[in-house]
């Protein structure tokens, strides 16, 4: 008879869940150079990332965080905070959720969405740093606009789904999982669906 594994996910994930690195202690973020927060409690995930920056080199010296979320969410923010230290702001800005998931030793499909907020919060923190330091010109707006916060689905994703055949809100949800958590984005997503259908297919 097989015995149970002693853990539900990968060993790396376990380590970062059991002993999370770089948790922000207390409430004070004043000593940090950039602060970013994404997500909300109703969706089940919220992450805050704070950074200290070596201003001459443009390198992240320290990264701390708070996370409201499941084991995968906690572990992915923890490992992200380790990954970004010593990276330039540009390098850090380009870290993708996929890299985070890989560093964790992989995540089950239904857990991918738990790890997408950490890198977003990091980008928000970097932009916040630029803003505070009079470098607004460097603030990188996300090219795409996030429509569904819960599943991190952008207007670009919606356009792609329409191009691939989605014609109804239900089909859009089937392809993107948009609006399947809190549902607050439904109206906006439906407008975009109609817009892209009109642009590309004239319907």
């Amino acid at each position: 008879m097989l015995q149970a594994g002693d853990w539900a996910y990968s060993e790396t994930l376990k380590e970062h869940f059991m002993n999370p690195k770089n948790i922000l202690q207390g409430e004070n973020t004043d000593e940090f150079d950039g602060v970013g927060m994404e997500g909300n409690l109703q969706c089940g995930d919220q992450m805050m990332v704070v950074i200290k920056v070596d201003k001459e080199k443009g390198v992240i010296q320290d990264c701390q965080w708070k996370t409201y979320g499941c084991a995968s969410a906690i572990a992915s923010t923890s490992i992200l905070s380790e990954m970004v230290k010593g990276r330039t702001l540009d390098q850090a800005f380009n870290i993708s959720p996929k890299e985070v998931a890989q560093a964790l030793g992989g995540l089950p499909d239904h857990k991918i969405h738990c790890s997408v907020l950490g890198d977003k919060a990091l980008r928000a923190a970097i932009n916040n740093y630029y803003t505070r330091n009079g470098q607004e010109d460097k603030v990188k707006q996300e090219q795409a606009k996030v429509i569904c916060q819960c599943m991190s689905i952008t207007d670009h994703d919606i356009e792609d789904a329409v191009l691939e055949g989605a014609r109804t809100y239900f089909e859009l949800q089937e392809r993107t999982k948009l609006g399947t958590v809190c549902g607050q984005c439904k109206d906006e997503a439906e407008l975009l669906l109609e817009k892209f259908k009109h642009i590309h297919f004239g319907v």
């Binding site: 999370p20 409690l41 708070k66 499941c70 969410a73 399947t180 958590v181």
Partner: protein, 401 residues
């Protein structure tokens, strides 16, 4: 590793009762097909019928009213699917009664089957529940009418433990001319269940929630009530459920209810005491919590608590590391993306549903285990809250600190 092993997930499933295990091991050599006329078959038949007697007696039914099935889900599917037949010509006289009423807090096997029936032309309506998970009887009265064929309402809720007044509901349902089904999977063997007193036409029960084996359940169908099998093609169970009987499982179910009849009467008070200690202990040591379910009309074994600013899967996994098994209504632990439909139906907000933990005790649960949990839990909640965005400056619950 953890010093203690605590299993507080008895509403998910239960360990075999030692007596059930003993009887099943002793019967392991019994392989005959109950339909065979020879000695092997007669031995199997005798044991299946013996189990049927025990189950019937336990819920106050007669033997012919008991159909052995593969699970509670199968029993619930069978009853609901009857009404596709009810709306055609299989069951004479019921064509005009093609609507179903159920509740928003049923088990998914009822909700999803209902949804499917909706696609097949059956009109399904869902009753609301109040903040404690009790169905609204006035709303039910308003829905009942000459178009309703079946009302299906669970007796005890698996997540929050709330008990419904099935006896009163069945009277209302019968006065309107409809049939009454109750999913009593979480109730049978935990609270007294007598099908005549309840007045139900169909009742679902399962073995593995009451220290019996998995893969076997029973469906009570009152004599004279129209019926149509879900699984066809055999004369087993008087033609009401095809497929060679799960003889060992059925024997285990029979022993399980026998043991329940002996132990249940002495258990409730002990479990209520434990729940009281657990509830008070949590209330005294942890702030920002919300108890879910009915304070009194609920299973003695079940306590459901929401912890603000904390996600349930994280609690579950930290407790697991400490050797304590519980379950959560969080989306993250279920593989779906929505938190518990039961908690949302009681009006609890999504955050509290994500942060809910169900403790379900059983016959083996002890004071020592509750004390151990109360020792471990506050530290875990504190630890998770320390890393949660909910309690930072400007966070959702910052003001409460």
């Amino acid at each position: 590793m953890a010093d203690m092993k605590v299993y507080f997930d008895n509403n998910a499933t239960t360990p075999l009762h030692p007596e059930v295990k003993k009887e099943m091991i002793a019967a392991m050599e019994m392989f005959g097909n109950p339909s065979s006329m020879h000695a092997y078959g007669r031995e199997a038949r005798a044991n299946v019928e013996n189990a049927r007697r025990k189950v019937a007696e336990f819920i106050g039914a007669s033997e012919k009213e008991i159909i052995f099935v593969g699970s509670g889900s199968e029993a619930n599917n069978t009853v609901l699917s009857l009404f596709v037949c009810g709306s055609s010509q299989c069951i004479p006289g019921s064509k005009s009664r093609s609507s179903i009423i159920t509740t928003k807090i049923e088990h998914p096997c009822v909700l999803e089957t209902s949804e499917c029936l909706g696609h097949r032309g059956v009109r399904v309506r869902y009753l609301d529940v109040d903040q404690y998970g009790k169905v609204d009887l006035d709303q039910l009265a308003g829905m009942l009418g000459s178009d309703v064929g079946l009302v299906s309402i669970m007796m005890a809720n698996n997540e929050i433990g709330t008990l419904q007044d099935i006896e009163t509901i069945a009277k209302m349902v019968h006065e309107s001319g409809a049939l009454m089904h109750t999913d009593a999977v979480q109730a049978v063997g935990k609270v007294p269940v007598d099908v005549r007193k309840l007045g139900v036409d169909f009742l679902t029960m399962s073995a593995h929630k009451i220290y019996g084996p998995k893969g076997v359940g029973a469906l009570f169908v009152r004599k004279g009530v129209p019926y149509c099998p879900l699984i066809r093609g055999g004369h087993q169970e008087l033609g009401r459920r095809a497929g060679t009987e799960n003889t060992l499982g059925i024997l285990g179910l029979g022993k399980a209810v026998e043991m329940r009849a002996l132990e249940m009467p002495y258990e409730e008070e002990r479990l209520l005491d434990l729940k009281h200690i657990l509830r008070n202990g949590i209330e005294e040591s942890i702030d920002d919590i919300h108890f879910n379910g009915h304070p009194t009309d609920a299973l003695a074994s079940t306590l459901n608590v929401s912890f603000s600013g904390v996600e349930g899967e994280a609690i579950l996994l930290y407790l697991d590391i400490e050797g304590i098994a519980v379950s959560t209504g969080s989306a993250c632990a279920s593989g779906s993306l929505d938190p518990s439909h039961v908690l949302l139906a009681t009006g609890v907000n999504a955050e509290l549903a994500h942060g809910s933990i169900r403790f379900s005790m059983g016959r083996e649960s002890s004071r020592e285990e509750v004390d151990y949990l109360l020792d471990v839990l506050p530290r875990i909640i504190q630890r998770i809250r320390n890393m949660s965005t909910a309690y930072i400056k400007g966070g959702m619950h910052a003001a409460s600190r």
